[in-house]
């Protein structure tokens, strides 16, 4: 026993950093390094500053959605509608601007649509007691449909100068979209780790009924999580449209696929109650490096789908292995306590 305590005291600075990141995430860091090493060796342009910034820009939408998914999946829910909602939001913002509505109101109205979609998802889960995985499939279809309906199926070009500027503007060399992603990581990472709301998310993900009997309001927490992912997706979709100079109703297909893969890679458990924002950050970096790398080394598009499926399988398998490991450690610990 005393030996163990001494070891803890003697921990090196390096060890402390590792602990802060979390032992579980070492594999993830290793995977990121591996992906970078492989793609850099195949295409030496991969590891350049410009490409890294491009990578972050490409990751920004996925990153913001993944922030929402981190909350939802820890709370034991899921959302398959972000791809549709991002496209809808891009089209909606572009349309509102084209009708001459000023920049700020246009954005706010679009974000409101994200809130409405979140409320609808929460309503299906809380009131009709649907599984979120299936319920949000409804939203995925319906919202995608409305993305086409409101613009009659044609992409809406953007001419509003403020809006275009938002797509192009940089602060210290970093584009607005990346700043938004980084801000979301920091703010919502803090809320998840340090506040009542964050703690409630973990609690209901552990056991909804136990949390309710302990005086929490699980339905309210679930509703807030759905609103959060709705707003973040909407905002991401708007910025995406600004970058593309157009709102495209067919854009962002499979967005949720990448976001969920990133979150699970980052150590959030599909069974709920476990995970952290730091893990999601790493997961987002890994999946975007993977996707960008596949394009840069000229893997054919169809094979990219297969590869992404493989990555999701890897993520789910590692989630399973982590869970097994947790259960085993738990059993060992309780055997010790019982003996």
């Amino acid at each position: 026993m005393s030996n163990g305590n001494e070891n803890i005291k003697k921990k090196s600075a390096f060890r402390k950093v590792l602990d802060a990141i979390g032992g579980d995430k070492l594999i993830l860091l290793g995977a990121i390094i591996l992906v970078f090493a492989v793609f850099t060796s195949l295409n030496k342009n991969f590891l350049t500053l410009q490409n890294m910034i491009n990578l972050l820009v490409a990751a920004s939408l996925v990153g913001m959605v993944a922030v929402g998914h981190t909350y939802l999946i820890i709370a034991g829910q899921n959302d398959l509608s972000p791809g549709s909602l991002a496209a809808f939001s891009g089209v909606m913002a572009a349309l509102l601007l084209s009708w001459g509505i000023p920049f700020l109101p246009a954005i706010l109205i679009t974000l409101l649509s994200g809130v409405v979609v979140g409320l609808f998802n929460a309503w299906m889960v809380n009131k009709i007691k649907l599984e979120s995985f299936i319920a949000t499939l409804v939203t995925q279809a319906v919202v995608r449909g409305f993305a086409f309906i409101i613009c009659d199926g044609k992409p809406v070009a953007i001419s509003n100068p403020t809006f275009i500027a938002m797509g192009k503007a940089r602060l210290i060399g970093i584009p607005v979209s990346v700043w938004l992603m980084l801000l979301s990581f920091v703010i919502f990472g803090f809320i998840l780790a340090k506040t009542k709301f964050g703690r409630s998310v973990y609690a209901i993900g552990g056991s909804t009924e136990a949390a309710r009997l302990a005086g929490l309001n699980p339905k309210k927490v679930v509703t807030l999580c759905f609103i959060l992912i709705g707003v973040l997706t909407s905002l991401g979709g708007i910025v995406f449209a600004a970058r593309m100079n157009a709102g495209q109703p067919s854009a962002n297909v499979n967005l949720e696929f990448d976001a969920i893969t990133a979150v699970i890679l980052g150590g959030v458990s599909f069974t709920g109650g476990v995970g952290s924002m730091g893990g999601t950050v790493l997961g987002v970096i890994l999946i975007q490096a993977f996707n960008t790398g596949l394009i840069m080394v000229n893997v054919p598009t169809f094979w990219q789908y297969v590869a992404r499926g493989g990555l999701l399988l890897f993520a789910l398998t590692s989630d399973y292995i982590r869970k097994e490991k947790r259960d085993k450690e738990l059993l060992a610990a309780s055997m010790k306590n019982a003996a």
Partner: protein
């Protein structure tokens, strides 16, 4: 040759519990062996190990000298080991014959089922059992007792049946039905089967069992021939102590105060209209069979289930509890029945669990939780409830069951309640922790709390309560004072509705 079932050093662990601890004994063909022990003594766990539901963490068992290792109950059934559970495990939409021959319906060489032959064979088995049912009847149209018979017939239809275990088979049977079941058990016994019979009912054990194996806290104690040992002695062996002692030593509250809580005509979708009162400093016991509506009545009061009718008064003032949260804010706290699913938050630490109901108190106006306040609350809870944990940051699920339960009580008490409701607080908890809980309950009452104690363990309710309310079929069927309370009285109120 007589069949022999032998257990050698069987052990099984669950998070927080040592469910089976090196179990060693034998059971023989042509004998009825009863398992006797308190809740959580390990009887059901052992049956689950026997039929492949659980894998043992240590040890092995042999049937006729051959080591058996089953991965699923199905494999066990194939090898002639059947367990008849408390919950029926039959398919209600299928016929009696289809259930009996499930998975081995007679069929021709193309795999087409021969229903006529199945019905004929089923008729034979039903005749063997002497039951007035048809093989073509859908099982859902049968009474619970006959559904159970179908299950037994299903096991019986296996030609290689060697071991048949009954887990509390009479819990929902009438006297006549019990007679019928016992006739069948006698028949199986005369055929040389190994019969294991798990029950809490001492009279049944005396009547049907040849031997009694006693379990306590996951350990096998000993086997006795029925008739060679008195009931009192059996109970003493199974409890491992004189129960009376624990209760008489308790330092109970002598002063009971004014009315604290009044529940008036409370009903919900799950319980009929009921009224009762609770005084300050009183321990009010709730007795009755499982499913009598005790938990449901409490859930309606605290807003865990939607209340249909009725009013709740606390200190004479009408209160509304639309959710457990509101009940908690009003000063009523529940320690729920199912610790694993409704009590602990298994993904959180001891600290997180103790503090989960205190977030409003621990957070500043921006909702940011103070780490320091949480640590203080956790340390206080751990100290005052003597929770055994290496640190407050340990995952709660790593603790023993009793210590997990203490965390849940600490969580509730930290909210400064006026009424504390404990639903089966000592279920699955070892004896040492139990007496700690009993002292705790008396201490709460002394401090002026109103305590509601729901318990299926009669000695526990009798030993702790100042007054006992008995429920039957979703209604309060009677009230007994501490002086008049006997196990017989509570049982007859709970089962027949009259004393």
């Amino acid at each position: 040759m007589k069949s022999v079932l032998e257990f050698r050093e069987i052990s099984k662990y669950f998070p927080g519990v040592k469910a089976l601890d090196h179990i060693c004994f034998q059971a023989y063909g042509g004998e009825v062996l009863a398992f006797l022990g308190e809740n959580g003594a390990g009887k059901s766990t052992l049956l689950k190990v026997l039929n492949g539901d659980y894998r043992p963490d240590g040890g092995k068992y042999l049937l006729d000298g051959e080591e058996k290792n089953f991965n699923t109950p199905h494999e066990a059934i194939e090898e002639g080991i059947s367990v008849i559970y408390q919950e029926r495990q039959i398919l209600l939409e299928l016929s009696v014959a289809e259930n009996i021959f499930l998975g081995k319906m007679p069929c021709n060489k193309f795999g087409v089922i021969n229903t006529r032959k199945a019905n004929e064979e089923a008729t034979q088995i039903i005749k063997d059992f002497g039951l007035p049912i048809k093989p073509t009847t859908k099982v859902k149209d049968l009474s619970i007792a006959y559904q159970q018979m179908v299950e037994i017939m299903k096991a019986y239809s296996r030609e290689n049946l060697k071991v048949i275990c009954f887990d509390e088979p009479t819990a929902s049977l009438s006297d006549a039905e019990i007679d019928c079941l016992f006739d069948i058990i006698q028949k199986l016994k005369s055929q040389g089967k190994i019969i294991i019979y798990v029950s809490h009912r001492m009279s049944e054990i005396q009547r049907i069992a040849d031997k009694v194996a006693i379990f306590k806290d996951g350990c096998y104690i000993d086997t006795f021939k029925t008739g060679e040992i008195s009931e009192q002695e059996l109970i003493k062996k199974m409890v491992g102590r004189d129960l009376g002692d624990i209760y008489t030593k308790l330092d109970r509250n002598k002063e009971i105060g004014d009315v604290l809580l009044e529940a008036k005509d409370i009903s919900s979708d799950y319980v009929k209209e009921n009224s009762f009162i609770l005084h300050k400093g009183e321990v009010l016991g709730f007795s009755g069979l499982v499913g009598a509506g005790r938990t449901e009545l409490i859930r309606a009061i605290i807003g865990a289930d939607k209340k249909r009718t009725g009013e709740v008064y606390l200190d004479g003032k009408k209160i509304e509890n639309r959710s457990p949260k509101e009940a908690m804010e009003n000063g009523i706290v529940l320690v729920p029945e199912d610790r694993k699913l409704q009590g602990i938050l298994s993904n959180l630490s001891v600290k997180g669990n103790i503090n989960i109901s205190l977030m409003d108190k621990n957070a500043n106006k921006f909702g940011i939780i103070s780490k320091k306040k949480e640590e203080q609350e956790a340390d206080e809870g751990i100290a005052s409830f003597r929770i055994k944990t290496p640190s407050a940051d340990k995952k709660i699920i790593e603790l023993s069951g009793g210590n997990q339960q203490k965390c849940i009580v600490a969580r509730g008490i930290a909210t400064n309640p006026k009424v504390l409701i404990l639903d089966e607080p000592t279920k699955g908890i070892d004896v040492g922790a139990k007496s700690e809980f009993y002292n705790m309950i008396c201490e709460f009452a002394k401090q002026g709390l109103g305590v509601i104690l729901i318990s299926s363990e009669l000695p526990e309710v009798i030993g702790l309560s100042d007054r006992i309310i008995v429920m039957k079929s979703l209604k309060i069927s009677g009230e007994v004072s501490r002086e008049e309370a006997t196990e017989d009285k509570l049982l007859s109120l709970g089962m027949m509705g009259e004393a």
